[in-house]
């Protein structure tokens, strides 16, 4: 502790150089924090849970999954058909309806992609929406109630609403891209709570089903997707034993032969979906992140090397005064670690605040995730990354500083 004052004074020795080193470290910690936040989120999403988890039922052999909606009723029951069969705790069916607000001009801004589902399931089966704080839950439950009562209703995420420049209560018409010939008019009945669903939309499945019926009435034949309108079924399981039993019930059921279905845990399903991004994620994890860490270490190493070279005489003087090599090693490493950890902490704190509260998450659409948020653990990562890379980068310069030979240094000075 007695040496801490010396360490702090030395950091202020060359404020410009210290500031540049701090800024360089902060920028690199910022990038590492962004990359790790995405990877951490995806890791959490694909981590296997053992209790109260969800399973996904999809078409076995085709991607994207397109099952007949007639599968929905029995799949929601876990294909329970005999005494002794068990049912999932809850279930939700998803159909995807997507299109553009402008028939002629399709842009990212005017595109809209909605989950068609039973509205009450928004409150019980959707990640994060099933665990809202009481105030938000009450508010969102009212929005869900409006969607349930108004078959033509649609709930939008805040950023999507902003992108299409509409307000709650406005009416919109979507020219469908996947359900060609089924263009639907909607009334915006409310918004998703801020966060994960900022770019999402949800509609009432009854509206899509009715539109498919109307299509058949008007055209004399069913819509090409009429028998393929069930994309995913989510089932909530108590534990892995329950999952195994229900999976067995579904896989042995006679109802799902054409097309066949498969069931997997949500984490496994998401991991399968992320296979498409495997190379990108591999590059982020094993190339980008390490490259940034090495660059950080080199930036710090460079700054500390210059400082050590300039202070050779000082180190020699300290040795004359009785300082031992480990004292000098501690001084140099201490400076680097202090700079690194403070820069890392400040950078992570700024990243956490700005990305989460100002920017509204990292816009990196992948899988079902529209935006990623910086977890609070990033404050710890940032500090540790800053300190560890500083330690790695400064070790060689610190070692050379502590090996300074007094008589050689003063022979040169004299």
């Amino acid at each position: 502790m007695k040496l801490f004052g010396l360490i702090a004074d030395n950091i202020l020795r060359n404020p410009v150089r210290s500031l540049l080193t701090i800024l360089g470290t902060m920028v690199l910690v910022f990038v590492v924090t962004l990359v790790w936040s995405i990877l951490d989120f995806l890791n959490a999403a694909t981590a296997t849970r053992t209790s109260n988890f969800k399973a996904i039922v999809t078409e076995r052999w085709r991607l994207p999954s397109q099952m007949p909606y007639s599968y929905a009723a029995t799949l929601k029951e876990g294909a329970a058909r005999e005494p002794g069969h068990i049912r999932p705790r809850d279930a939700m069916c998803w159909s995807f309806y997507g299109g553009s607000l402008d028939r002629e001009k399709r842009t990212r801004e005017n595109s809209l992609f909605a989950f068609a589902l039973e509205p009450p399931k928004l409150l019980t089966m959707m990640d994060e929406l099933d665990s809202l704080p009481p105030d938000q839950h009450r508010e969102f439950a009212e929005v869900v109630r409006r969607l349930e009562q108004n078959r033509q209703g649609i709930i939008l995420g805040r950023q999507r609403l902003e992108a299409i420049q509409k307000r709650v209560g406005d009416r919109i018409k979507i020219y469908s891209l996947n359900y060609r010939g089924i263009d639907l008019e909607f009334e915006i009945v409310g918004l998703f709570p801020p966060g994960r669903y900022d770019n999402s939309a949800a509609m009432n499945i009854d509206y899509l089903t009715a539109a498919l019926d109307a299509y058949q009435r008007e055209n004399g034949q069913p819509h090409p997707l009429a028998d393929k309108s069930l994309n995913l079924v989510w089932l909530r399981m108590q534990d892995t034993a329950e999952f195994d039993r229900i999976a067995q019930q579904i896989l042995t059921a006679p109802y799902y032969s054409n097309p066949a279905v498969k069931i997997e845990t949500a984490s496994s399903g998401i991991a399968t979906f992320l296979e498409a991004y495997r190379d990108l994620l591999w590059g982020m994890r094993y190339l980008l992140a390490p490259a940034i860490l090495v660059t950080m270490a080199l930036v710090i190493s460079n700054a500390i090397s210059i400082s050590v070279r300039e202070r050779q005489v000082e180190f020699a003087v300290l040795k004359v005064l009785g300082y031992r090599p480990f004292h000098i090693l501690s001084l140099v490493l201490g400076e680097a670690i202090l700079v690194g950890s403070l820069s890392g902490l400040v950078s992570a704190a700024l990243t956490f605040s700005v990305v989460n509260y100002v920017v509204g998450g990292i816009k990196f659409p992948i899988a079902f995730f529209g935006a990623f948020f910086i977890p609070s653990q990033a404050l710890l990562w940032g500090t540790i990354v800053g300190a560890a890379t500083a330690l790695a980068g400064s070790f060689l310069p610190a070692w050379s500083a502590c090996r300074v030979k007094v008589t050689d240094v003063f022979a040169r000075v004299g």
């Binding site: 000082e314 003087v317 005064l321 009785g322 008589t407």
Partner: protein, 235 residues
């Protein structure tokens, strides 16, 4: 009178050589010396004569290639580097020609540096630092950084740093070499005062005959050997 004291430094037949490539450079050749406690000794000689090397060996900054050195009864020539570092803190005060103060630290913090290695409380350190700065007459400059002090004042801070641990021996390598005549005189007065008032043994390397005249004894070195021993006229 100083000659009557027992020797505080005993140098016995020391040799020191360096190698540069395959070439061996002999700096000290079988030099022996005794320095009585409380003596002010000046070492003179041409460049390369070995006087700074001898000073470094006595101060425990280097070890002889051959021969033995005792300081205050302890044989320092056989100590490890770590032992020497601890020994220096308590026994040796070093004064440099170019002061070598740490520019980002105030006079107070520069003087405090050796005390950080000792098991002292903050209050004890403060007392010793203020006492040392008072002895060198810089009580009113404790918060000044080296850049805000004159050369003479910086050297006084250097001397305060050398005496703050109350060492028995002060070694000074051309302490007046970078100073004007007036400041040099003041520094020499201060060194004499340290010897007479505090009983410090002072070993000083100098090129300046006027500085050497202030010592009790002047030793001349040439090619690593003592060539003459002259009692100072002034002392």
């Amino acid at each position: 009178m100083a000659q009557a004291q027992p020797p505080i430094v005993v140098v016995e037949d020391i040799h020191k050589f360096f190698t540069r490539g395959s070439e061996r450079i002999d700096v000290l050749n079988g030099l022996s010396l005794e320095v009585p406690e409380g003596e002010f000794l000046a070492l003179m000689g041409p460049s390369g004569s070995g006087k700074t090397t001898l000073l470094n060996l006595i101060a425990g900054l280097d070890r002889p290639s051959q021969g033995r050195i005792w300081v205050r009864g302890q044989e320092i020539s056989s100590m490890s580097e770590g032992q020497l570092a601890g020994w220096r803190t308590r026994n040796i005060g070093f004064v440099f020609q170019f002061y070598h103060l740490i520019p980002v630290l105030t006079a107070y913090r520069n003087v405090e540096l050796p005390l950080l290695l000792l098991p002292l409380s903050r209050a004890q350190r403060r007392r010793q630092v203020l006492n040392a700065l008072d002895i060198v007459g810089l009580s009113d400059r404790i918060h000044h950084r080296p850049g805000q002090l004159s050369g003479g004042q910086q050297q006084r801070v250097g001397i305060a740093r050398a005496i703050v641990t109350d060492p028995a021996i002060i070694v000074a390598d051309e302490p007046t070499g970078d100073l004007d005549a007036k400041s040099a005189e003041e520094i020499l007065d201060l060194l004499c005062e340290l010897r007479s008032s505090l009983g410090k043994t002072i070993i000083m390397v100098t090129h300046d005959p006027r500085a050497a005249q202030r010592a009790d004894r002047v030793l001349h070195l040439d090619k690593g050997r003592l060539t003459s021993e002259v009692p100072s006229a002034v002392s």
